[in-house]
Symmetry: C2
Subunit: 102 residues, 2 copies
Amino acid sequence: MNKPKYHIFVCTSSRPTGQQKGFCHAKASVELMEAFMEEIEERGLGSEVFVTNTGCLGICEKGPIVIVYPDNVWYGAVTVDDVEEIMEEHIEGGRPLARLIF
Amino acid sequence: MNKPKYHIFVCTSSRPTGQQKGFCHAKASVELMEAFMEEIEERGLGSEVFVTNTGCLGICEKGPIVIVYPDNVWYGAVTVDDVEEIMEEHIEGGRPLARLIF
């Protein structure tokens, strides 16, 4: 298996037990994840950029949370409208978005 | 917020929609996650080592999957019995476990 150059994690508040609750999920994080998947496909980056949903990260008041590894960059209050800019600037340009980092 | 020195992701097969199915979940990945949480607490590493469950990573036949970032190390077929060694060797010792990497 090829390991990803970037791995984007989107909190969708999925509890390990399968229960789903919390702010990120309420704040349309599933649509956020889908937006990342679409952008990755459109840009032909499917083999080097992965996107995975996560369980609660414990900082719900800053959600929806998006983490980009291996950079260890944490974005807060991310909306679907921010996805294109994150992809363009950070993932393709190598410049993390200061305005969304917390 | 302090960012983690290590972030351990454990696939618990949580779908973004809340549905939960797949090999990792069937293979006791929830107990695996709990074992990491206990080890982290016992070693007093709670402020620098995070553990988060994830949705399906798409490589179910190699599950349960554990990823350690920012190292981008992918472990497969991880069991509860491996947790102490991963914590001791990789997280505390800085030496990823070759026998579990795929």
